[in-house]
């Protein structure tokens, strides 16, 4: 083993994890002239990260400026499709605004985390941060038993590294934060398991199948029994340049009830008649999984502690309200505000929770907590309504559509009336429909 430099007490802050939240914090602090150590347990930044997905990039563009042109994005999001799947049928809505086709493309891009996170961590390094990979943080160091956090234990030789502030950006499987008593473990109803295949195709195959040009991409979101059984969750397809990300993500409390294991559920999703033509062929190049903290605002722990802050997935900063699926943007935003707060604390020479309060306060005023709080009701709502939302509704819609469009010698009016009655019946009659309309109104607010 080569000689290990002594990092103890050499840095103003240690960041645990070079994912998006960690690198955003490291970059922000480095831009504020702090000495930052960025620790990553993987072989390179991004090598332990998994997501769908599309990334929303306003804060990234602010942070890196013109360098964003070199960011390794795959395709911009030009079209978004939502589908309800009964076991055999599909009802979908597709959105393709012309405005999204023009720069900056609604700041929404497909990325692969393997290369995007590496690039983003590089931005922090170029700004002055020190990145060390293949180093796992195993614990925090406290001054005394209940005292402030003053560093981290790692699996490097002479593994203890002390610094005034630790930024915990360790992801959803937040072993260090939990062991340090900084957060309670999430409940299993509030965590989703995602399983995903990345498959390689010819570019033309992807572009033809999804109706795309060279630079635009599509995201497909699938709900209902045909996607995830009766579970709260969904299936997805994202188009990259020459790969597709195909996966399912659903609540762990539902996953343990389904007789199928996640990989079997993924197989069934891929074989759905509406999905199979889009994903057939190709070559499997990676299989991955991730736990997604979806507990909403009520699951967000105290973010500032004496000598430490928690950011990104580790802080449960993920939004899933069925329509908006966001997390990487919240990770970056939280890393940014945490970095700013640490810089202020460093200037004042104070590192206790009070000195770091600017982070939770600014996050509270940002879209991150605004959105999480606005949709905090969704998780319980989806679990309460899952029989209707994921099983009964897709089936009723299919039956009503068949009736509505039926070709025979009866008048259209008769078909329309029958179709309407089918939907009303599925909604629980007029009273049920009125109650549901009231209950569901918040979905689009």
């Amino acid at each position: 083993m080569t000689e290990t430099p002594n990092y103890d007490d050499h840095f103003d802050a240690i960041v645990v994890g070079a994912g998006l939240a960690g690198s955003a914090a490291a970059l922000t602090m480095a831009q504020e002239d702090l000495e930052v150590l960025l620790l990553e347990r993987g072989a390179s930044p991004g090598s332990k990260n998994v997501f769908g997905g599309t990334m929303f990039t306003p804060r990234v563009r602010d942070l890196v400026g013109e360098d964003f042109e070199d960011a390794p994005t795959e395709r911009y999001l030009g079209r978004k499709q939502f589908s309800l799947l009964s076991p055999e049928d599909e009802t979908s809505l597709s959105v393709r605004p012309s405005a999204w086709q023009d720069p900056p493309h609604n700041d929404t891009h497909m990325v692969l985390r393997g290369n995007f996170d590496e690039w983003f961590a590089d931005q922090a390094v170029e700004a002055g941060a020190t990145l060390i990979t293949e180093t796992t943080v195993t614990d925090v160091i406290r001054e005394d038993e209940d005292g402030p956090i003053v560093g981290v234990e790692t699996d490097r030789p002479d593994g203890a590294i002390r610094a005034p502030v630790v930024v915990l950006a360790e992801g959803g499987n937040s072993l260090v934060s939990e062991a340090a008593g900084l957060k309670e473990p999430d409940k299993r109803q509030e965590v989703a398991i995602g399983a995903k295949e990345v498959r390689k195709y010819d570019r033309e195959t992807i572009e033809d199948r999804f109706g795309l040009g060279e630079k635009d991409g599509a995201s497909h979101h699938y709900f209902g029994e045909g996607a995830c059984g009766g579970a709260v969750g969904g299936g997805f397809i994202y188009t990259n340049k020459n790969t597709l990300a195909i996966g399912v993500a659903y609540s762990i409390s539902d996953a343990v009830e389904d007789p199928r294991k996640p990989d079997e559920l993924l197989d069934d999703f891929k074989q759905h008649p509406a999905v199979a033509p889009l994903v057939k062929g190709g070559r499997l190049v990676e299989y991955s999984a991730k736990a997604i903290p979806e507990g909403g605002a009520s699951a967000v722990p105290d973010l500032a502690h004496d000598g430490a802050v928690i950011v990104g997935d580790a802080a449960s900063l993920v939004l899933n309200n069925g329509i908006h699926l966001e997390g990487t943007n919240m990770a970056i935003e939280s890393g940014y505000w945490a970095g700013k707060a640490v810089a202020e604390a460093a200037a004042a020479g104070q590192y206790d929770a009070t000195a770091l309060q600017a982070y939770p306060e600014n996050l509270e005023d940002s879209f991150v907590m605004e959105n999480l709080e606005h949709y905090d009701w969704f998780g319980d709502f989806a679990h309460d309504e899952k029989q209707f939302l994921f099983t009964e509704l897709p089936k009723a819609l299919t039956e009503a559509e068949l009736e509505f469009f039926k070709q025979d010698r009866e008048p259209k009016e008769t078909h329309a009336k029958r179709a309407k009655n089918m939907v009303i019946r599925a909604l629980g009659g007029w009273t049920g429909a009125a109650k549901r309309a009231w209950k569901y109104r918040k979905l689009l607010s």
């Binding site: 499987n173 990989d263 299989y287 736990a291």
Partner: protein, 103 residues
């Protein structure tokens, strides 16, 4: 009249799926259980049900599940799935375990 057939899609086995991934063994399991008796008393094996990579295996003998740690995708789902908080989970050391190239 027959409907047009849904095209065949590949449904690889867990082994074939894992074969595509880059993995570095760390020889000692990063997973375990705190109390064996808890597993012996458990009837649901939720760790087995939720695992996307067949790491946790119910061998049908009512014993502690067999742990094929080298299959682990490092999602952590077993930690939440276990109703008894009985899963020991440590991050694989020094860059070992899964290395995702796409992510």
């Amino acid at each position: 009249m027959s409907t047009p057939k849904t095209p065949d899609v590949e449904t690889p086995s867990i082994e074939d799926r894992l074969y595509t991934n880059k993995y570095t063994d760390h020889e000692e399991s990063h997973l375990g259980v705190f109390e064996e008796q808890t597993c012996l008393d458990c009837e649901t094996y939720d760790c087995v049900s939720v695992c996307p990579a067949n790491v946790w295996r119910d061998e049908g003998d009512g014993d502690v599940p067999f742990i094929a740690y080298e299959n682990c995708l490092e999602c952590g789902s077993c930690r939440w799935a276990c109703p008894y908080d009985n899963v020991i989970w440590e991050n694989p050391p020094n860059g070992t375990g899964m290395t995702y190239r796409y992510g």
